[in-house]
Symmetry: C2
């Protein structure tokens, strides 16, 4: 029941000329950024600005994280067409409550694309993450090292955020970058659906900040471990405590700060 | 005709406990993040997640940058109430085409930052920035130094983006931080309205990346100089070239890259 999808990645960087402080012409690689308009069964939903690394997964993950679609089995096709900057998603049975879901919108923090349809906050209380899994400091360091060695658009062009999903050994299963933090996490969510990957024993890594919707999205994917290179906000922290997710910030090299879900973390 | 406004700043940081890699308890300051729902004449518009440093200016600037209101003179009051996480904006005459504008947003994109993207792109061609102003390298360095010395939430808690408006001597006129890049630029736009500041000879500085909407917003405020500590994206670059804004990226200490509008930049 995996949907039929295109594989329409865009060139991820392009080069422009700049002049630096020494007056030299510097060919500078910059990250791509393209509008991509989502249609479900020909109904226009949203236009996302994206790097275009994984547009099909992004579209699927957007629908997943916005709770517009409940399972990947509902989706028959995801067809990206860059000539029209559009992705056409076809459901198997149609979505009968789409209008209602699109009523309530929240512009979330940092809004690379941040609309949230419906009241996600209300769902938080229902989230129960696994407590029979653990993350050791050794595994955390292995993941941070794997991220450091990963070839990235960020290294060449900057201006993007990266997200990774790792297994219990800290090995990277997927890595997506995008011009918005939300797009990167949504693309991971979409890839997880496409590859039928269960999040309940995985580690989610992001280069971005741990704001409210970052934590909500990880918890909704049932992922018990959330690791960021960056800091966090008050609501990100509140929601982490509420969902009891194991949240680690400022994780670089052999440094980190453990904020919540401490029972799952094993100091080696 | 300046609107009556509250002055309802939130505490900007709070402290939580974390455990670091040495097993020590570390009191860690984190940035605030609060939902703020905007109502115009009692009609609900959007919920923004904000640090709460300048909520009135944020609300005004959001309306300005989303083109929901054309001049500050249309606004009678901006009242923030953190008990209900709401900001009530009262217009002098009512907005008679609000439904139409909101309808178009929902239909065209529906995303916070991408909300009026279609409309904005159409306006780009009409933008004409002043060409009788210049920015010298000395002034740029003075601005970068002023930014470096500025006391910031970022320094204490991270997880925020900062924006500054500076005058022709590189002196900071206003500095706003927020958990989202868009909020920070919107708050600057709102403050400019409140203080009746003309952007046409000013410098806009942001810690955030130069993505499409960042460049669009600066150009719409008639600001000819856009400076960022970070990198840029392809569409940000395209729009900078199109509007011929003087755009400088990777500006830190005595380094920078000049990308567009080079005729306004004076190598000292």
């Amino acid at each position: 029941m995996t949907p039929r999808i295109t594989n329409a990645q865009r060139p991820l960087t392009t080069e422009v000329e700049a002049i630096n402080e020494r007056g030299e012409n510097v060919p500078t690689p910059i990250a791509g950024e393209h509008p991509l308009t989502l249609y479900i069964d020909k109904c226009e939903i949203v236009t996302l600005m994206t790097l275009g690394q994984a547009p099909e997964a992004l579209a699927l993950g957007y629908l997943r994280n916005q709770r517009l679609v409940r399972t990947v089995d509902e989706i028959a096709e995801v067809q990206v067409d860059w000539d029209t900057n559009a992705v056409a998603i076809t459901t198997r049975q149609g979505l009968n409550n789409l209008d209602e879901k699109m009523q309530k919108r929240t512009v979330t923090t940092g809004c690379g694309q941040g609309t949230v349809f419906g009241d996600l906050m209300a769902e938080i209380d229902a989230i129960q993450l696994r407590n029979d899994v653990s993350l050791s400091e050794t595994t955390l360091y292995a993941l941070l090292d794997a991220v450091r060695r990963h070839e990235t658009i960020y290294k060449s062009a900057g201006a993007v955020h990266g997200c990774a999903l790792a297994d219990g050994d800290g090995e990277i299963l997927m890595f997506v970058e995008d011009v918005g933090r939300h797009n990167a996490v949504d693309a991971i969510a979409g890839k997880m659906w496409l590859d039928h990957i269960d999040g309940s024993d995985k580690i989610f890594y992001t280069t971005g900040r741990l704001t409210s919707e970052m934590v909500i999205k990880a918890a909704q994917m049932q992922i018990p471990f959330l690791v960021s290179r960056s800091g966090l906000t008050q609501m990100g922290h509140d929601i982490a405590v509420k969902t009891d997710i194991t949240m680690i910030g400022r994780a670089v090299n052999k440094h980190y700060l453990l904020f919540s879900g401490k029972q799952r973390f094993l100091k080696s």
